[in-house]
């Protein structure tokens, strides 16, 4: 992984590819660290996100393509058409491992075609092929995958957009195929799919045939570190038991119990029918229906947590992958829908059209509040999402997200920060998450400050949990740590095991060090996180972001959230301290 592939989509005579060595300025970076560094250094912050000046950067992690467990995340970065700021969205699936084996630290799409021709790109060993293919226009991700499989077989992987990306909708995602060659793993947030659509690229076929697994600098030590890392993940209650058994939807009942489960467009903190869509109910349903990989399944080769699954309909036919907690919430409690089959159908539609399920679910809920449909009306929600896929006038509005939809329908309660819809935790219930929602460089994002504790990384020292300002300090520390972990390209779900088990954290550091021949310490990891965040903050500042944008919508300070009847209480001046370091 010592090279960058740049594809100039607007070159004279058609797109041109160029491979270059990884510049020194980007050395040692992977995943989000690399996407954000390239965007910050190479993209004019004031450019239009759909213009030729924006770039789409696709970067595997530092260990992708190696034998390291959990190393199959891919980061996709650009200037976001949803937030207007810097964006990194990441996904599982197979492309990260294959790009790593092909030796690419990043693939950068630049410029834009001079007409509306749609292109496909093939990346193989020592081969890059770009060709126009307008026969792909309008295809859903599933039909596209079938078509590609007929041509290339199922040993390749795909990075693709659906109709939403082609229509350059701000809620458009980028799909990555999973181990079964299904387009179920999405870099969802921020409208990255719209930028790929603006580049005129429908699909990138990644073929690692003939490429071996990436070799570590110190094979024996790496093998030992990987063994300890896997042992640590398997023995931990979250990564070894809870996530495999119930998936991320294990959170539904608990967040609901805490009164922090945003219900019917953030009107309440509890959904009366949440148990009907909980992870426990979902797992039981999937197990009862059976089928290959039903309740426990990995999203990429090398995953040992296996938090995903496969959702079969009542007749046993494949419908979609196991919907994640955020998806179940977005279309479930947030829309007042308590039918898992309907939610799975909505998940399938989003994957096929290439839509972020969080943004789309939040948008449907805003539309429901506006009276476009009734809360709880699952067929209406399905109809609305189909409008997006069809590109009707209403669909064009909805496909551009909750903020746009709220503005057009005159809705006051629009749960967005920097234009991006909030995920499934009400910030009035868990106020520290609200701090991260408000101040993240990415817009409202639940993964921006993850559970990588201060006691491991030592970012910022000890925090007194009894002090009100503690949540600001914690949010800062978590955002720093998360930016660093994102830059390794490791799955964020390793966080619990490395938080609770120092030996597992050490195994992770050893993995990186033995692979690359480095001597990283926890301090280096902290410095990396700060560097990434500083780059992102500076980009956003130049793009016109101010402190006034590091705020939650006003209604969170005014409307009490039942059942605990709390409002968001963190002061603005405290929010403005988050990035003081």
């Amino acid at each position: 992984m010592d090279k960058i592939l740049r594809i100039q989509m607007g070159a004279e005579g058609g797109p041109k590819a160029k491979t270059e060595p990884l510049p020194a300025a980007y050395a040692g970076l992977g995943g989000r660290g690399l996407t954000s560094a390239i965007i910050a250094h190479e993209v004019p912050p004031s450019c239009h996100p759909l213009s030729e000046d924006n770039k789409l950067v696709i970067a595997p992690g530092l260990l992708s393509g190696s034998a390291a467990a959990m190393s199959g995340r891919i980061s996709i970065g650009c200037k976001s058409p949803l937030t207007g700021g810097i964006k990194e969205a990441n996904a599982g699936g197979m492309p990260a491992q294959m790009l790593g084996r092909l030796g690419y630290a990043a693939v950068v799409l630049e410029g834009k075609p001079k007409d509306d021709t749609l292109y496909r790109i093939y990346l193989g060993k020592d081969k890059v092929e770009i060709r126009p293919d307008n026969s792909l226009k309008g295809l859903g991700n599933y039909a596209l995958a079938e078509k590609m499989k007929a041509e290339y077989g199922d040993k390749v992987s795909l990075i693709s957009i659906g109709p939403a990306g082609e229509m350059k909708m701000a809620a458009a995602s980028i799909a990555c195929t999973d181990m079964e060659f299904r387009p179920t793993r999405h870099a969802g947030r921020g409208g990255v799919g719209a930028v790929m659509g603006a580049k005129g690229v429908k699909v990138i076929v990644v073929d690692d045939a003939g490429c071996g697994v990436r070799r570590p600098k110190d094979a024996e030590a790496f093998k030992e570190a990987n063994k300890k890392f896997v042992e640590g993940l398997r023995k931990h209650a979250v990564t070894g038991q809870g996530l495999p058994a119930y998936g991320t939807n294990v959170l539904t009942n608990v967040i609901n119990e805490a009164g922090a489960y945003p219900t019917k467009n953030f009107m309440w903190g509890r959904f009366a029918n949440c148990n009907k869509i909980s992870g426990e109910t979902q797992a039981e349903l999937e197990n009862a229906r059976g089928g290959e990989g039903s309740a426990t399944h990995g999203c990429h080769r090398g995953c040992v947590i296996r938090c995903s699954g496969t959702y079969y309909d009542k007749d046993g036919a494949y419908l979609t992958k196991q919907p994640e907690y955020e998806t179940v919430w977005a279309f479930g409690g947030n829309c007042g829908i308590d039918d898992l089959d309907a939610i799975a159908t909505l998940d399938r539609l989003c994957d096929d059209f290439g839509l972020d399920t969080i943004e789309t679910g939040a948008t449907v809920a805003v539309a429901m509040e506006a009276g476009v449909a009734a809360f709880g009306d699952a067929p209406a929600a399905i109809r609305l999402v189909k409008e997006i896929g069809a590109g009707t006038p209403l669909g064009r509005i909805l496909g551009n997200g909750a903020a746009v939809t709220g503005r057009i329908y005159g809705v006051e309660r629009v749960p967005v920060v920097k234009g991006q819809a909030m995920p499934a935790y009400d910030p009035r219930g868990v106020q520290g998450i609200g701090v991260t929602y408000a101040t993240s460089t990415m817009g409202a994002d639940h993964t921006a400050g993850y559970a990588v504790a201060t006691n491991i990384l030592g970012v910022g020292g000890n925090v007194n949990p009894l002090r009100p300002e503690g949540q600001v300090d914690l949010s800062r520390n978590l955002q720093i740590a998360t930016a660093a972990i994102d830059s390794t390209g490791m799955c964020l779900f390793i966080a619990f095991a490395i938080m609770d088990q120092p030996e597992t954290f050490q195994a992770l550091v050893d993995l990186i060090n033995t692979f690359h021949g480095l001597k990283l310490t926890a301090d280096d990891v902290t410095a990396l996180g700060k560097r990434v965040l500083s780059l992102e903050r500076e980009f956003n500042r130049k793009a016109g972001f101010t402190q006034a944008m590091d705020r939650l919508p006003d209604f969170f300070r005014k409307e009490k959230l039942p059942p605990h009847d709390v409002v968001f209480q963190v002061k603005d001046e405290d929010l403005d301290r988050v990035f003081n370091w």
């Binding site: 426990e280 219930g429 993850y450 949540q471 966080a495 619990f496």
Partner: protein, 195 residues
């Protein structure tokens, strides 16, 4: 009504704990003692496995200081993923992030003597690990909750291999659950069918 159910698939009933079952324990007892007496959940399991505890929807950090009162709602969960999972954990280093909803001991008057009834919810691994024992002992469930659960999960009637007896008589009719009284509490006992 007393319902005795033998089943080939005990896990079907675990989501019932997400709705809540009624338990009775010693009035004025702290959470660990109450859960031991009322649900057979021993303090060691509580300390080791149950990482997240709610009392009336509020995360509890120090179990020994939480006293159960009539009508309380107790929820137990194993460790959870995600930032929210970490934040809600008992004694979490991130507890400041949910400060406004954390359970705090407040004067609530003296606890009642005798038995105290509370609602118990078990989530995820705790439901699958403690559920079989509780179901075998028998749990009390509001009639409406049980009727809705049965109607939703057994729309085609008693599954093949299962048997259901209501107040000692085999359940029959179509749909059979309509015979359940809609009022009060039902006592449900579920055991695995002999292999």
């Amino acid at each position: 009504m007393d319902i005795d159910w033998t089943t080939t698939r005990l896990s079907r009933f675990f989501p019932l704990f997400g709705e809540g079952v009624r338990i009775e324990g010693p009035g004025g007892a702290g959470l660990p003692e109450f859960l031991l007496q009322a649900a057979g959940i021993d303090p060691d399991y509580l300390a080791r496995r149950v990482q997240t505890v709610f009392l009336n929807g509020r995360p509890v950090d120090d179990l020994s200081r939480a006293e159960v009162r009539p009508g309380d709602r107790i929820a137990l969960s194993a460790a959870l993923p995600g930032l929210a999972g970490a934040v809600l954990r008992r004694g979490s280093a991130l507890a400041a992030m949910r400060r406004t909803i954390t359970w705090e001991e407040a004067p609530r008057g003296k606890g009642a003597a005798g038995l105290t009834a509370a609602t118990l919810l078990l989530f995820n691994l705790v439901a699958s690990e403690r559920g079989p024992d509780l179901l075998a002992r028998g749990v009390s469930i509001p009639a409406a909750t049980l009727s809705a659960f049965v109607e939703r999960n057994f729309p085609r009637g008693v599954p093949p291999g299962d048997t259901v007896r209501i107040d000692g008589r085999p359940a029959g009719g179509d749909p059979w659950w309509r015979g359940l009284s809609p009022e009060g509490l039902h006592r449900l006992r579920v055991r695995p069918a002999p292999a």
